[in-house]
Amino acid sequence: MNFEDLWSLNILASALMLMGMFFIITAVVGLIRFPDFLTKIHAISISDSLGVPLFLCGAMLLNGYNLATLKIAIIILLIYLVNPMITMEIGSYFINKKSEGSDD
Protein backbone atom coordinates (compact mmCIF):
# COMPACT_ATOMS: atom_id res chain seq x y z
CA MET A 1 0.00 0.00 0.00
CA ASN A 2 1.39 3.34 -0.97
CA PHE A 3 0.83 5.81 1.79
CA GLU A 4 1.49 8.85 -0.30
CA ASP A 5 -1.61 8.21 -2.36
CA LEU A 6 -3.97 8.40 0.60
CA TRP A 7 -5.21 11.96 0.50
CA SER A 8 -6.98 11.71 3.86
CA LEU A 9 -3.74 10.67 5.52
CA ASN A 10 -1.96 13.54 3.83
CA ILE A 11 -4.54 15.98 5.10
CA LEU A 12 -4.31 14.58 8.61
CA ALA A 13 -0.52 14.77 8.55
CA SER A 14 -0.61 18.33 7.23
CA ALA A 15 -3.10 19.31 9.93
CA LEU A 16 -0.86 17.85 12.64
CA MET A 17 2.20 19.60 11.21
CA LEU A 18 0.38 22.92 10.96
CA MET A 19 -0.79 22.60 14.55
CA GLY A 20 2.75 21.80 15.63
CA MET A 21 4.05 24.83 13.73
CA PHE A 22 1.36 27.00 15.33
CA PHE A 23 2.46 25.95 18.81
CA ILE A 24 6.13 26.48 17.97
CA ILE A 25 5.35 29.99 16.71
CA THR A 26 3.31 30.79 19.83
CA ALA A 27 6.23 29.56 21.92
CA VAL A 28 8.65 31.85 20.10
CA VAL A 29 6.27 34.81 20.36
CA GLY A 30 5.91 34.12 24.09
CA LEU A 31 9.67 33.86 24.48
CA ILE A 32 10.07 37.31 22.99
CA ARG A 33 7.04 39.04 24.49
CA PHE A 34 6.76 37.68 28.03
CA PRO A 35 8.24 39.90 30.71
CA ASP A 36 9.76 37.47 33.20
CA PHE A 37 12.31 34.64 33.13
CA LEU A 38 9.89 32.05 34.49
CA THR A 39 7.08 33.05 32.16
CA LYS A 40 9.52 32.88 29.26
CA ILE A 41 10.44 29.33 30.27
CA HIS A 42 6.77 28.49 30.50
CA ALA A 43 6.20 29.80 26.99
CA ILE A 44 9.10 27.95 25.39
CA SER A 45 8.20 24.66 27.07
CA ILE A 46 4.98 24.67 25.03
CA SER A 47 7.08 24.08 21.93
CA ASP A 48 8.92 21.19 23.59
CA SER A 49 5.90 19.39 24.92
CA LEU A 50 3.34 20.10 22.21
CA GLY A 51 4.77 21.75 19.11
CA VAL A 52 7.65 19.47 18.16
CA PRO A 53 5.86 16.18 19.05
CA LEU A 54 2.82 17.16 17.00
CA PHE A 55 5.05 18.04 14.06
CA LEU A 56 6.88 14.72 14.38
CA CYS A 57 3.56 12.86 14.58
CA GLY A 58 2.71 14.39 11.21
CA ALA A 59 6.08 13.24 9.90
CA MET A 60 5.38 9.73 11.19
CA LEU A 61 2.06 9.63 9.35
CA LEU A 62 3.73 10.75 6.13
CA ASN A 63 6.48 8.19 6.50
CA GLY A 64 4.37 5.05 6.59
CA TYR A 65 5.39 1.73 8.11
CA ASN A 66 9.16 1.58 8.21
CA LEU A 67 12.13 1.85 10.52
CA ALA A 68 12.33 5.64 10.31
CA THR A 69 8.85 5.90 11.82
CA LEU A 70 9.99 3.91 14.83
CA LYS A 71 12.98 6.19 15.15
CA ILE A 72 10.74 9.27 15.08
CA ALA A 73 8.58 7.67 17.78
CA ILE A 74 11.69 7.17 19.93
CA ILE A 75 12.65 10.80 19.34
CA ILE A 76 9.18 11.92 20.49
CA LEU A 77 9.53 9.79 23.62
CA LEU A 78 12.96 11.26 24.34
CA ILE A 79 11.69 14.81 23.87
CA TYR A 80 8.80 14.12 26.22
CA LEU A 81 11.17 12.68 28.82
CA VAL A 82 14.05 15.10 28.66
CA ASN A 83 12.74 18.53 27.76
CA PRO A 84 10.23 19.04 30.62
CA MET A 85 12.93 17.83 32.98
CA ILE A 86 15.45 20.34 31.64
CA THR A 87 12.88 23.14 31.84
CA MET A 88 12.02 22.20 35.40
CA GLU A 89 15.68 21.98 36.32
CA ILE A 90 16.40 25.48 34.97
CA GLY A 91 13.32 26.88 36.66
CA SER A 92 14.06 25.27 40.03
CA TYR A 93 17.66 26.49 39.85
CA PHE A 94 16.38 30.01 39.21
CA ILE A 95 13.92 29.83 42.12
CA ASN A 96 16.53 28.40 44.50
CA LYS A 97 19.04 31.05 43.54
CA LYS A 98 16.44 33.77 43.98
CA SER A 99 15.45 32.52 47.45
CA GLU A 100 19.13 32.28 48.41
CA GLY A 101 19.70 35.84 47.28
CA SER A 102 16.72 37.13 49.22
CA ASP A 103 17.98 35.38 52.38
CA ASP A 104 21.32 37.13 52.14
Binding site: L81, P84, M85, M88, E89, S92, E100
Partner: protein, 343 residues
Amino acid sequence: MIELGLSLDVILESFFLLLLPILAVAILFSENMAAIAIMSCVFSMVMAVIYLLLAAPDVAMTESAIGAAISTAILIKSMQLTQSRILSDKFFCLANIISFFALLFFGAMMIYGFADLPDYGQGSAPVNSYISKDYIKNTPSEIGIASSVAAILASYRGFDTLGETLVIMVAGLVVYFVMNIERPVQVDLLDEKAEAVYENKIWMTDYIRTMLLPVSLILAFYIQVHGEISPGGGFQAGSVLSSIFIFYFVVADIKSINFHKMIKTLLKLSFVGFLIYLLMAIYTAVIGGYFLEYYAITGTLLGHKIGIFIIEIGVGITVFSVMLMIFLLFEYKLQSKPITRST
Protein backbone atom coordinates in the same frame (compact mmCIF):
# COMPACT_ATOMS: atom_id res chain seq x y z
CA MET B 1 31.46 27.49 -12.89
CA ILE B 2 28.67 27.04 -10.38
CA GLU B 3 25.59 25.04 -11.20
CA LEU B 4 22.49 26.11 -9.35
CA GLY B 5 21.06 22.71 -8.55
CA LEU B 6 18.71 23.79 -5.80
CA SER B 7 17.88 20.53 -4.18
CA LEU B 8 16.69 20.36 -0.58
CA ASP B 9 20.14 19.33 0.63
CA VAL B 10 21.77 22.37 -0.95
CA ILE B 11 19.19 24.72 0.57
CA LEU B 12 19.56 23.17 4.02
CA GLU B 13 23.35 23.18 3.84
CA SER B 14 23.44 26.81 2.72
CA PHE B 15 21.07 27.79 5.53
CA PHE B 16 23.12 26.08 8.21
CA LEU B 17 26.42 27.28 6.74
CA LEU B 18 25.09 30.85 6.81
CA LEU B 19 24.05 30.36 10.41
CA LEU B 20 27.65 29.59 11.43
CA PRO B 21 29.27 33.03 10.80
CA ILE B 22 26.26 34.74 12.41
CA LEU B 23 26.75 32.64 15.53
CA ALA B 24 30.50 33.24 15.47
CA VAL B 25 30.05 37.00 15.32
CA ALA B 26 27.46 36.82 18.09
CA ILE B 27 29.91 34.86 20.25
CA LEU B 28 32.65 37.37 19.44
CA PHE B 29 30.66 40.42 20.52
CA SER B 30 28.89 38.95 23.51
CA GLU B 31 30.10 39.84 26.99
CA ASN B 32 28.00 37.43 28.99
CA MET B 33 29.93 34.19 29.51
CA ALA B 34 26.80 32.09 29.99
CA ALA B 35 25.44 33.32 26.69
CA ILE B 36 28.78 32.49 25.04
CA ALA B 37 28.64 28.95 26.41
CA ILE B 38 25.10 28.44 25.14
CA MET B 39 25.91 29.94 21.75
CA SER B 40 28.97 27.74 21.30
CA CYS B 41 26.72 24.80 22.13
CA VAL B 42 24.34 25.91 19.37
CA PHE B 43 27.34 26.35 17.03
CA SER B 44 28.35 22.75 17.65
CA MET B 45 24.82 21.50 17.12
CA VAL B 46 24.64 23.33 13.77
CA MET B 47 28.01 21.82 12.84
CA ALA B 48 26.67 18.38 13.76
CA VAL B 49 23.65 18.89 11.49
CA ILE B 50 25.97 19.96 8.66
CA TYR B 51 28.09 16.85 9.13
CA LEU B 52 24.93 14.77 9.05
CA LEU B 53 23.85 16.44 5.81
CA LEU B 54 27.30 15.75 4.36
CA ALA B 55 26.72 12.03 5.13
CA ALA B 56 29.24 11.80 7.97
CA PRO B 57 27.10 10.51 10.84
CA ASP B 58 30.02 9.41 12.99
CA VAL B 59 31.58 12.87 12.94
CA ALA B 60 28.15 14.29 13.73
CA MET B 61 27.89 11.97 16.72
CA THR B 62 31.27 13.05 18.06
CA GLU B 63 30.54 16.72 17.44
CA SER B 64 27.21 16.65 19.24
CA ALA B 65 28.58 14.63 22.15
CA ILE B 66 31.86 16.50 22.64
CA GLY B 67 31.18 19.92 21.14
CA ALA B 68 27.63 20.40 22.32
CA ALA B 69 27.44 18.42 25.54
CA ILE B 70 30.85 18.03 27.15
CA SER B 71 32.56 21.26 26.19
CA THR B 72 29.46 23.28 27.14
CA ALA B 73 29.40 21.62 30.56
CA ILE B 74 33.12 22.27 31.01
CA LEU B 75 32.74 25.89 29.82
CA ILE B 76 29.97 26.51 32.32
CA LYS B 77 31.94 24.89 35.12
CA SER B 78 35.01 26.98 34.32
CA MET B 79 32.79 30.05 34.12
CA GLN B 80 31.60 29.33 37.66
CA LEU B 81 35.22 28.88 38.72
CA THR B 82 36.27 32.27 37.38
CA GLN B 83 33.95 35.20 36.83
CA SER B 84 30.82 35.28 34.78
CA ARG B 85 31.43 38.60 33.02
CA ILE B 86 34.22 39.93 30.87
CA LEU B 87 35.66 43.11 32.30
CA SER B 88 35.80 45.47 29.37
CA ASP B 89 36.96 48.69 30.99
CA LYS B 90 40.58 48.22 29.87
CA PHE B 91 40.24 47.65 26.19
CA PHE B 92 43.55 49.08 24.92
CA CYS B 93 45.95 47.24 27.17
CA LEU B 94 49.16 45.63 25.90
CA ALA B 95 47.86 42.05 25.92
CA ASN B 96 44.84 42.98 23.83
CA ILE B 97 46.97 44.79 21.25
CA ILE B 98 49.43 41.90 20.97
CA SER B 99 46.66 39.35 20.62
CA PHE B 100 44.93 41.55 18.04
CA PHE B 101 48.00 41.56 15.81
CA ALA B 102 48.59 37.85 16.35
CA LEU B 103 45.00 37.10 15.33
CA LEU B 104 45.33 39.42 12.34
CA PHE B 105 48.41 37.49 11.26
CA PHE B 106 46.71 34.11 11.62
CA GLY B 107 43.60 35.36 9.86
CA ALA B 108 45.67 36.59 6.93
CA MET B 109 47.47 33.23 6.80
CA MET B 110 44.17 31.36 6.74
CA ILE B 111 42.75 33.56 3.99
CA TYR B 112 45.97 32.98 2.02
CA GLY B 113 45.55 29.26 2.56
CA PHE B 114 41.97 29.32 1.30
CA ALA B 115 43.25 29.93 -2.22
CA ASP B 116 44.71 26.44 -2.43
CA LEU B 117 41.64 24.66 -1.11
CA PRO B 118 39.31 22.98 -3.61
CA ASP B 119 35.80 24.35 -4.04
CA TYR B 120 32.95 23.14 -1.88
CA GLY B 121 31.78 19.83 -3.26
CA GLN B 122 34.22 19.88 -6.17
CA GLY B 123 34.35 16.52 -7.88
CA SER B 124 37.97 16.75 -9.01
CA ALA B 125 39.34 17.50 -5.54
CA PRO B 126 42.19 15.19 -4.47
CA VAL B 127 40.01 13.65 -1.77
CA ASN B 128 37.27 12.76 -4.23
CA SER B 129 39.45 11.71 -7.14
CA TYR B 130 41.23 8.52 -6.15
CA ILE B 131 41.94 7.92 -2.49
CA SER B 132 38.43 7.56 -1.12
CA LYS B 133 37.44 5.44 -4.10
CA ASP B 134 40.43 3.24 -3.39
CA TYR B 135 39.45 2.82 0.24
CA ILE B 136 35.83 2.06 -0.58
CA LYS B 137 36.81 -0.45 -3.24
CA ASN B 138 39.46 -2.29 -1.26
CA THR B 139 37.96 -2.36 2.23
CA PRO B 140 35.82 -5.53 1.79
CA SER B 141 38.64 -7.54 0.23
CA GLU B 142 41.58 -6.27 2.29
CA ILE B 143 40.01 -5.68 5.70
CA GLY B 144 36.79 -7.62 5.52
CA ILE B 145 34.58 -5.23 7.48
CA ALA B 146 31.62 -3.23 6.25
CA SER B 147 32.47 0.23 7.57
CA SER B 148 35.24 1.74 5.50
CA VAL B 149 35.59 4.58 8.00
CA ALA B 150 36.46 2.11 10.74
CA ALA B 151 38.84 0.37 8.34
CA ILE B 152 40.67 3.62 7.57
CA LEU B 153 40.73 4.65 11.23
CA ALA B 154 41.89 1.40 12.71
CA SER B 155 43.77 -0.42 9.98
CA TYR B 156 44.96 1.78 7.10
CA ARG B 157 45.78 4.65 9.46
CA GLY B 158 46.16 2.61 12.63
CA PHE B 159 49.40 4.29 13.59
CA ASP B 160 47.78 7.75 13.40
CA THR B 161 44.97 6.57 15.64
CA LEU B 162 47.51 5.24 18.10
CA GLY B 163 49.00 8.74 18.20
CA GLU B 164 45.56 10.31 18.61
CA THR B 165 44.77 8.07 21.55
CA LEU B 166 48.09 9.01 23.09
CA VAL B 167 47.29 12.70 22.55
CA ILE B 168 43.93 12.33 24.32
CA MET B 169 45.57 10.47 27.19
CA VAL B 170 48.27 13.12 27.55
CA ALA B 171 45.65 15.87 27.42
CA GLY B 172 43.81 14.27 30.32
CA LEU B 173 47.07 13.91 32.22
CA VAL B 174 47.96 17.57 31.62
CA VAL B 175 44.56 18.78 32.83
CA TYR B 176 44.96 16.55 35.86
CA PHE B 177 48.30 18.14 36.74
CA VAL B 178 47.17 21.69 35.96
CA MET B 179 44.16 21.37 38.23
CA ASN B 180 46.51 20.21 41.02
CA ILE B 181 44.19 18.19 43.22
CA GLU B 182 47.08 16.44 44.98
CA ARG B 183 47.11 19.13 47.63
CA PRO B 184 44.26 18.07 49.89
CA VAL B 185 41.68 20.78 50.40
CA GLN B 186 39.67 20.67 53.55
CA VAL B 187 36.15 21.39 52.46
CA ASP B 188 32.98 21.75 54.39
CA LEU B 189 30.91 20.17 51.68
CA LEU B 190 27.59 19.80 53.38
CA ASP B 191 26.66 23.19 54.62
CA GLU B 192 23.09 23.46 55.74
CA LYS B 193 21.95 25.83 53.05
CA ALA B 194 22.98 23.48 50.27
CA GLU B 195 21.17 20.65 52.01
CA ALA B 196 17.99 22.71 52.09
CA VAL B 197 18.31 23.57 48.40
CA TYR B 198 18.71 19.98 47.38
CA GLU B 199 15.81 18.81 49.51
CA ASN B 200 13.70 21.21 47.52
CA LYS B 201 14.40 19.27 44.35
CA ILE B 202 11.45 17.40 43.03
CA TRP B 203 11.55 13.67 42.41
CA MET B 204 11.01 14.09 38.66
CA THR B 205 14.60 14.78 37.62
CA ASP B 206 15.93 11.86 39.63
CA TYR B 207 13.27 9.57 38.25
CA ILE B 208 13.84 10.50 34.62
CA ARG B 209 17.60 10.48 34.71
CA THR B 210 17.51 7.05 36.33
CA MET B 211 15.13 5.88 33.65
CA LEU B 212 17.25 7.26 30.80
CA LEU B 213 20.58 5.96 32.04
CA PRO B 214 20.25 2.26 31.05
CA VAL B 215 18.85 3.15 27.63
CA SER B 216 21.70 5.55 26.93
CA LEU B 217 24.23 3.02 28.18
CA ILE B 218 22.87 0.46 25.75
CA LEU B 219 23.17 3.06 22.99
CA ALA B 220 26.81 3.75 23.83
CA PHE B 221 27.58 0.04 24.03
CA TYR B 222 25.91 -0.50 20.68
CA ILE B 223 27.96 2.27 19.08
CA GLN B 224 31.09 0.68 20.54
CA VAL B 225 30.61 -2.92 19.44
CA HIS B 226 28.88 -2.08 16.17
CA GLY B 227 31.72 0.15 15.01
CA GLU B 228 32.89 -2.22 12.30
CA ILE B 229 29.49 -2.47 10.66
CA SER B 230 27.78 0.88 11.10
CA PRO B 231 29.02 4.42 11.74
CA GLY B 232 30.56 4.59 15.17
CA GLY B 233 33.49 3.16 17.03
CA GLY B 234 35.71 3.92 19.93
CA PHE B 235 35.84 7.71 19.74
CA GLN B 236 32.08 8.03 19.28
CA ALA B 237 31.19 5.51 21.97
CA GLY B 238 33.61 7.05 24.46
CA SER B 239 32.34 10.56 23.92
CA VAL B 240 28.68 9.50 24.02
CA LEU B 241 29.24 7.47 27.18
CA SER B 242 31.05 10.29 28.95
CA SER B 243 28.39 12.80 27.89
CA ILE B 244 25.76 10.47 29.35
CA PHE B 245 27.57 10.40 32.66
CA ILE B 246 28.09 14.16 32.59
CA PHE B 247 24.38 14.62 32.00
CA TYR B 248 23.72 12.27 34.89
CA PHE B 249 26.02 14.25 37.15
CA VAL B 250 24.82 17.68 36.03
CA VAL B 251 21.21 17.12 36.96
CA ALA B 252 22.04 15.34 40.20
CA ASP B 253 23.36 16.19 43.59
CA ILE B 254 26.88 14.87 43.28
CA LYS B 255 28.20 15.94 46.62
CA SER B 256 28.12 12.38 47.89
CA ILE B 257 30.78 11.11 45.45
CA ASN B 258 34.37 10.58 46.50
CA PHE B 259 35.83 12.77 43.77
CA HIS B 260 39.46 12.16 44.55
CA LYS B 261 39.18 8.41 44.26
CA MET B 262 37.02 8.57 41.15
CA ILE B 263 39.37 10.97 39.33
CA LYS B 264 42.35 8.77 40.11
CA THR B 265 40.51 5.69 38.88
CA LEU B 266 39.59 7.44 35.64
CA LEU B 267 43.19 8.55 35.15
CA LYS B 268 44.34 4.96 35.50
CA LEU B 269 41.59 3.82 33.15
CA SER B 270 42.82 6.18 30.46
CA PHE B 271 46.27 4.59 30.71
CA VAL B 272 44.66 1.14 30.50
CA GLY B 273 42.84 2.08 27.29
CA PHE B 274 46.01 3.29 25.62
CA LEU B 275 47.90 0.22 26.83
CA ILE B 276 45.29 -2.08 25.26
CA TYR B 277 45.96 -0.40 21.92
CA LEU B 278 49.73 -0.43 22.31
CA LEU B 279 49.90 -4.05 23.49
CA MET B 280 47.73 -5.08 20.55
CA ALA B 281 50.19 -3.36 18.21
CA ILE B 282 53.18 -4.97 19.90
CA TYR B 283 51.48 -8.37 19.91
CA THR B 284 50.97 -8.23 16.14
CA ALA B 285 54.64 -7.37 15.73
CA VAL B 286 55.76 -10.17 18.06
CA ILE B 287 53.80 -12.97 16.42
CA GLY B 288 55.35 -12.24 13.07
CA GLY B 289 53.46 -9.47 11.32
CA TYR B 290 54.24 -5.80 10.97
CA PHE B 291 53.43 -3.31 13.70
CA LEU B 292 49.60 -3.07 13.84
CA GLU B 293 49.12 -5.70 11.14
CA TYR B 294 46.03 -7.45 12.48
CA TYR B 295 46.11 -9.94 9.66
CA ALA B 296 48.83 -11.80 11.54
CA ILE B 297 46.57 -12.67 14.48
CA THR B 298 44.81 -15.52 12.75
CA GLY B 299 46.23 -15.36 9.27
CA THR B 300 42.79 -14.69 7.80
CA LEU B 301 40.49 -11.70 7.45
CA LEU B 302 39.02 -12.59 10.85
CA GLY B 303 42.22 -11.29 12.40
CA HIS B 304 41.37 -7.81 11.18
CA LYS B 305 37.96 -7.99 12.84
CA ILE B 306 39.41 -9.13 16.16
CA GLY B 307 42.19 -6.57 16.12
CA ILE B 308 39.91 -3.65 15.18
CA PHE B 309 37.39 -4.69 17.83
CA ILE B 310 40.04 -4.76 20.55
CA ILE B 311 41.69 -1.48 19.67
CA GLU B 312 38.29 0.23 19.39
CA ILE B 313 37.62 -0.88 22.95
CA GLY B 314 40.95 0.64 24.02
CA VAL B 315 40.16 3.92 22.25
CA GLY B 316 36.69 4.00 23.78
CA ILE B 317 38.02 3.48 27.31
CA THR B 318 40.61 6.25 26.90
CA VAL B 319 38.19 8.79 25.44
CA PHE B 320 35.50 8.04 28.01
CA SER B 321 37.77 8.25 31.03
CA VAL B 322 39.60 11.40 29.88
CA MET B 323 36.40 13.31 29.09
CA LEU B 324 34.68 12.35 32.33
CA MET B 325 37.84 13.00 34.32
CA ILE B 326 38.20 16.55 32.97
CA PHE B 327 34.60 17.32 33.88
CA LEU B 328 34.98 15.85 37.37
CA LEU B 329 38.20 17.80 37.90
CA PHE B 330 36.35 21.04 37.21
CA GLU B 331 33.50 19.98 39.45
CA TYR B 332 35.92 19.04 42.23
CA LYS B 333 37.71 22.37 41.96
CA LEU B 334 34.37 24.14 42.04
CA GLN B 335 33.22 22.36 45.16
CA SER B 336 36.51 22.79 46.98
CA LYS B 337 36.54 26.51 46.19
CA PRO B 338 36.08 28.55 49.35
CA ILE B 339 32.55 29.84 49.50
CA THR B 340 32.58 33.63 49.42
CA ARG B 341 28.87 34.06 49.36
CA SER B 342 27.81 35.65 52.65
CA THR B 343 29.78 38.87 52.73
